[in-house]
Amino acid sequence: MIVKSLRETMLGMWSLLVGMKVTAVNFKSTQITVHYPREVVHSLEGYRGHIELVPSDEDPYKPKCIACNNCVRICPSACISLTAIKPKKKAAEKTEAPDSADEVKTKGKKEAPAKKAKPELESFVCDYNYCCLCGLCVQSCPTGALRYSSNVYLAGFTRQEFVLDLLSRLQNQAQKKEQ
């Protein structure tokens, strides 16, 4: 009995020593802490942050978006809302029949040369407070007008800060690029 418990104690002590050895070995290994504000994690690639509009090829101030509302329809948490101005003036100038045909065509094609029938995007608001970052909107976009931002450093004092007006963000970004 005594021998057994003594043996158990010895084995136990040995297991502690082995554990200490592991700690000692790791003590020498390289540090894995990322000193955050001074350096950042290198692996942000691929992270899905909130969405951003992609500028069109011709004009960096204009989004690629054609206001087809696909993203609004698919969004599970209903956080995207967009409004578009229908090109009424030009429709009035033309006769009705060719215009509607034109519109169908432009919708079918991606980068239609006829700009007339393209609805102008008026506002594009993403309420990031409700977003669940599923990425369904980006995938459902027929023109690739949405992208993920890798801005993970968001924090603020009110929740209204995260109701993102993507159109004005796009214009700010374009301005920054020009400078």
């Binding site: 158990e8 084995l11 136990g12 297991s15 502690l16 082995v18 554990g19 050895k21 592991v22 700690t23 790791n26 894995i32 692996s43 690639e45 691929g46 992270y47 899905r48 698919i74 969004c75 599970p76 669940c132 970052l133 599923c134 990425g135 369904l136 995938q139 459902s140 993920y148």
Partner: protein, 382 residues
């Protein structure tokens, strides 16, 4: 909505409904829902005699998030991000269960490459889940260091997964008929690197923790769950395998391409917390084995079927799809009426059944051991 959410002092609904034993001089103790060892928000009402538990009754529903109701409101693709939030540690498995249930109902053939990608990512996710459990369980038992090592590896795997899936935790990666984007060479290379890095780490984990006699005293012969109790309560996963029944859905009801891989199903018939602990430790190594095999035999081809339905409308009928999550058997019972959203969706959360045997197991044990048992069940409360 009831506006007065303040608790009344005479005990709330569950405390009043609690049925204590008929003994005198016992104390009723309320543990949780905000308690460090309850893993999330679980509340347990205990009747104790000194340090011994006479009766324990878990109260749950503190993070009930209406998943089943949501499924009926939303369309199939809109529900995609939600299953991962049911069990946030092994989100990909839930994501998979939802996607696969719909695929089965519609009779979709998933491309082989997509199946392989699913297996690889799901197994990686399983390792992260077990690592977190490992760290958190030892934290419950009073050891702080292991969780640091666990998170080191976990972060690395999460980096790999994040590059492909876009999120760290609540994945929304699988789509009906495939996955949302393809894996590339860098993913394969990084995964291989991580696999070879993990192997010596298991040895280290064993030296550091598993062989440690303080741990052994805390987990050996604690919380014995006989196999028949598991059956009566419907417990699955590592809890069941720790009781000596080598039942694994991946083997018993092979889904996807799991029947092509060679892996063992670890089981220990000690029935105690140590058995469950060892099962999980072994399972991580088996997962690595599966990942390496899958990477070796990864076929070329599409990652999503070319005509994958964007808005699926499965035919009327119902389907039950089960798969093996990190915590046990995940079941999706989907009843469709041919519309764009499910008629009824029932989720079988493994943690739910596993937790239900807690009140039987914890009778007559010490409070400190109850914490150990609770941790060894590895709960994510639905």
């Amino acid at each position: 909505m009831n506006l007065d959410l303040r608790l009344d002092t005479s005990g709330d609904f569950y405390a009043r409904k609690f049925q204590p034993t008929k003994r005198e001089d016992t104390l009723i103790l309320n543990m949780g829902p905000q308690h460090p060892s309850t893993h999330g928000v679980l509340r347990i009402i205990l009747e104790i005699d000194g340090e011994y538990i006479l009766r324990a009754e878990p109260v749950l529903g503190y993070i009930h998030r209406m998943h089943e109701k949501m499924a009926e409101v939303m369309s199939y693709p809109q529900y995609l991000p939600n299953p991962a939030r049911t069990d946030y540690l092994h989100g990909l498995a839930w994501n998979w269960a939802h996607v696969a249930a719909v695929e089965r109902l519609m009779g979709l053939e998933v491309p082989e490459r997509a199946e392989y990608i699913r297996v690889i990512t799901c197994e990686l996710n399983r390792i992260t889940s077990h690592l977190l459990w490992w760290g958190a369980y030892l934290l419950d038992l009073g050891a702080f260091t292991p969780i640091m090592y666990a998170f080191d590896d976990r972060e690395r795997i999460q980096d790999i997964l994040q590059r492909i899936t876009g999120s760290r935790l609540t994945y929304c990666y699988y789509r009906f008929g495939g996955v949302s984007n393809d894996i590339d060479d860098r993913f394969i290379e990084e995964t291989r690197k991580q696999c070879s890095r993990m192997k010596p780490r298991f040895k280290m984990f064993k030296d550091l923790v598993t062989d440690n006699f303080i741990l052994r005293k805390r987990v050996e012969e604690i919380g014995e769950i006989p196999a028949d109790t598991c059956r009566k309560y419907g417990a699955t996963g590592p809890v069941l395998r720790g009781s000596g029944v080598p039942y694994d859905v991946r083997r018993a009801e092979p889904y996807s391409v799991y029947d092509r891989f060679d892996f063992n199903i670890p089981s220990y018939d000690t029935c105690d917390a140590m058995g469950r602990y060892l099962v999980r430790m072994d399972e991580m190594q088996e997962s690595i084995k599966i990942i390496e095999q899958a990477l070796d035999t990864l076929p070329e081809g599409d990652y999503i079927m070319p005509k994958a339905p964007k808005k699926p409308k499965p035919p009327a009928g119902d389907v039950y799809f089960a798969l093996e999550g990190a915590r046990g058997k995940i079941g999706f019972h989907l009843v469709s009426d041919g519309d764009k959203s499910p008629y009824r969706l029932k989720l079988r959360a493994p943690g739910f059944s596993n937790l239900s045997l807690f009140s039987e197991v914890s009778e007559g044990v010490l409070i400190a051991d109850a914490v150990s048992i609770l941790g060894s069940l590895d709960l994510v409360i639905p």
